[in-house]
Symmetry: D2
Subunit: 345 residues, 4 copies
């Protein structure tokens, strides 16, 4: 059994981790920690768990005392908050999966520019691994520190990777128009995410300046082999869960829908969680799962390709992917605890 | 392995059965049938299941040919449609769980009055069992034909049973004000359940005349030992899933909240799926589960008791309860395939 | 032109007042005040109003300086916050309509018990008028201080008044099961009213202890002529606007649906905003309007009557009713600025 | 008073016309017609209108008899259905505003290709006017037949027109990623638009092949002065109303955000309903209004411009724009009946 601890267990992503770990057959949760709810039973914060999870949430000081008793630490904190505890854990030989943004960008100048903070652990960036298993599985296997990808980057990179690997599109033509449910904004009290503010409306936000942009650029540049700048526009949708990324690129040369479909099928042939669809996917097809559904459309009129990917932002976009990374790191079946179909409607 | 077939597998309740059976360790689905989608892959109707369920939907004639190869038939059809196939199955020694309304009412006159149809199999009513396991487990064990309870009756009867068993309230004082998500209305094309018709509104319907009324009355009368008439008012809520039943009764004599809590705890001490809560439950606490959460409030000002129960209408209110019944009938662990926590948010 | 000021203009009810007054032909808004947004343009808080409302929000000190320049002050503050400014306004001869709870309960002991505060202006309670025009129009005409009714009480009292006036039901049998959209919870940052917390769920709250209970009891007792205690249970519904009140009472003697319909029609024959419906109403029928739709059902099986009323909680349940009261107080056509149909869907 | 008739009055767009005309001071509704509900009171279909609209819906034969008594006919029918009645009306000297698609495309080959029908009245296409007032006001003034724009084209063309007029972007670089509420799909019984199918999900549809594509292309080509092909991807959002169009184009040369803002302000200086915003708009800012809000973002990293426009699909995207066209055609104040602010929340 892998002994794990979770920091930030009462945010939406942290809580989703608890849910997934509860049904994982090879793990044991040693502690749950929470900044706002330390000292309270976890099931007071999430009454869904009553009679299933008995744990009290502990504070960060208690976490430090228990660090040496675990094999793996999950961190689900806002950016800038995970440096100190990550260092302590790694120094003790505890592996770390950080669901936050602090180890995703390899370039500390880029980190400073987009997040407005100095990076406090640049020495870890050379060995930390960007935890997108369908792209980086080999490195994940050997990693001690995983930067778990952002939700939008997961959907976007998975949609674009085969196009870039095979140089099918002009790298300067990429536009990602993404849509997310409101749980992506987290569980903090905030007027802008009140029910009556979000319901019956849609908005774009962070236009031209969302922090997931450099993360996507870093990864697609790696795949393409050359620096790429792209446009990324997120939107807020009145639903709890789900991300749909509609990605556009200009074809370098003609390709048929069938050939492109085969390229995607082949690229993801070992990716249990990737389903290349004959239809354009909807977020409900993957809601509550670790799946990423991808649909392909060649628009012959404009010589563009349109790729639509759908994920659950809290699972494949956060906690599920973290479990998948854990499974790989600890040499468990990659799909353990993650093989489920969306519950509909 | 229990070999099962499902008739009406493409309705919401039928589909939920498929979902649950897919993860049940002791069953094998032999066939899925559908009136509207016969001949099509099940995953065309529900693309969520792509790569998980490969079955084609079959028609009723093919069902009849395959009947002898199964141990158990689930029927999820509108009322009046299950008589013929039920008889055929039982005659072949195949057990039947009917998720529809045809075997719930023991009195054929009552059936005729509320459903407007003659009952075609009155001879089966003496041996069919109303499949509410927390009340009728012993009979369910021995039954060949289960009338799986309606969604509203499940929430209502579970809320009221301890009050009536212990004669805590005046049986003439019962009012059930229930609220359901829209999936309760089924998956047929219908203007009244279009998104733009249901969203941003709430309505009462079937006021004074909903067909679940006599079903609730029959069961609470059995528990109380005397005929009870009650008021039941369902409402349609703009959400996919969930039923909340707010039940009112006048106390026969004073009782404290604590004592009543103990009575409920004791009444349901063997009921894994019943959680007696210290707070008033919300439907999201049980969404996607087979749980029924129950909250209790003694209103000392008015000498009334208010019981609020919450279920998922498609699981504890339909398919999950059907699986629970199956487990009992086939002497499997009652909770097999049903032990999961609500995924939130 | 009536010169008006609004305190608390950036809450949902206050903002709805601004919307309604903007299209009212006989008023001029002299100032808008806000605690949280003083100094900012109103259209920064509500970008909907850009180019329509140019006003800056002022603070309470500036309000005091401008008090003498207005004829009428609307106050939309939390309970306990309106005493001082109300006194100042009335002393200056400015009429006041308080949308909060501070002058609704005539009994200061009851106020203390339910709101946990000492009433600071008991001397005003004998002349203040409970501003439900369909019941108290004569007194409203002459009032200087109006206690604008709560949203739930408006729906509940309008539903019950004819039954009580004509002593059709047992006054001890009243149960009000009410459902409200989330805007009723106000616009403050709060985890419990986040989109992802409210969406896809329904809950009861304040069971047996909601503060609108004594308000309803006071008014229906006045109508009936004797003290009444009743059960009132509010529920939170995942929609922005609307209240549906499902009200139950036991008939004292048999009455037909037709006769009861006539009693309601007659009782409200001068009530432009009350529509007695032949069907059970839905909240969308009145969304965005000052209407109250009422449906009637005699349940002959149980000798109960079930009345369902629907209002828009922010209009007939708050700002619209305040305008209606203003119209009456200032001898304008009662319907001025309020004659509109619900925009659907 | 302008005497008007409405064909297709019980669809969502038709009904919105009724709502708007009811409050328009210069029109009189002579008849409402409906295919599905002929013979029924309009307020049976939309109970919101009870006591406000008393009309019975008439059938198409009765329409023909009454045609000569009106000045203007609004047609809100599916494509292919308006040819015959349009001809009859125009022959009688009755002006026509067609909210459907039949007269929007000037090229009958394009019509055939995208709609799969032969155009039955090609001789009317040279004089019919595409009724987007902010672009074509002069021609609308003199027109007898108006092709009222589609909802997506309205949002898209208004967003793009200044860019194209001033040749700011590469005409081959245009991508429109649009999002619509479910009312855009109409009010017909349909599984795909059931509440439980649309809620909690988002999908793209008609990718690369939506019929509004050639309509947008025709109009932006006219503005630019040269044929343009573009990518247009619509998405379905779980809300009742609203369209957000996120439009991307590559800058031909550098331009500052401020300069572009001025260009937009200037281009729409006579457009009462166009608000150029300093922020990126949300659909709720314009919900229930005839406004189009436009936000501008220069993305200097990628040398792209991103324009986001927001409209109400049933008002500026359908019925409100039709009224605006009527006002212009009949030389009434352009804003008559259309000057209102969004009701929020």
């Amino acid at each position: 059994m892998i002994k794990v601890g979770i920091i930030g267990s009462t945010g939406y992503a942290g809580q989703q981790l608890v849910w997934l770990l509860h049904r994982h057959r090879e793990t044991k949760i040693v502690f749950l920690s929470s900044y706002n709810y330390a000292g309270l039973p976890f099931s007071n914060v999430y009454p869904e768990y009553y009679q299933f999870i008995q744990d009290l949430c502990i504070d960060i000081h208690t976490v430090e005392k228990k660090l040496s008793s675990i094999d793996l630490l999950f961190i689900a904190l806002p950016h800038g908050k995970s440096f100190a505890i990550t260092k302590k854990a790694l120094d003790l030989g505890v592996k770390v999966i950080d669901l936050g943004a602090d180890f995703r960008l390899k370039n500390t100048t880029t980190y400073k520019k987009w997040y407005g903070l100095n990076h406090e652990l640049p020495e870890f960036l050379s060995t930390s691994v960007y935890g997108l298993p369908e792209i980086n599985k080999k490195d994940i296997k050997k990693a001690n520190l995983i930067a778990n990808p952002g939700c939008y980057p997961t959907a976007s990179i998975l949609a674009l990777a085969p196009l870039l690997k095979h140089k099918i599109i002009d790298p300067n033509s990429i536009i990602i128009d993404a849509k997310s449910g409101v749980s992506g904004a987290g569980r903090k009290a905030n007027v802008a995410t009140l029910f009556a503010e979000c319901n019956e409306s849609i908005k774009a936000y962070g236009v031209g300046c969302h922090r997931h942009t450099p993360e996507i650029e870093q990864e697609v540049s790696n795949i393409y082999g050359q620096d790429i700048l792209l446009s990324f526009t997120p939107h807020l949708i009145p639903m709890n869960r789900g991300i749909l990324a509609t990605c556009y690129g200009s074809l370098v040369e003609k390709i048929s829908q069938e050939d492109l479909y085969k390229i995607y099928e082949d690229f993801y042939k070992d990716g249990y969680f990737i389903r290349i669809r004959k239809e354009i996917p909807q977020t409900k097809w993957v809601k509550g799962t670790n799946l990423c559904d991808i649909g392909i459309c060649i628009d012959e009129r404009t010589d563009r390709v349109i790729i639509v990917s759908a994920i659950d932002n809290l699972i494949k976009g956060a906690a599920g992917q973290a479990i998948q990374n854990m499974n790989i790191m600890f040499d468990i079946e990659e799909t353990e605890g993650l093989k489920f179909i969306s519950m509909t409607p």
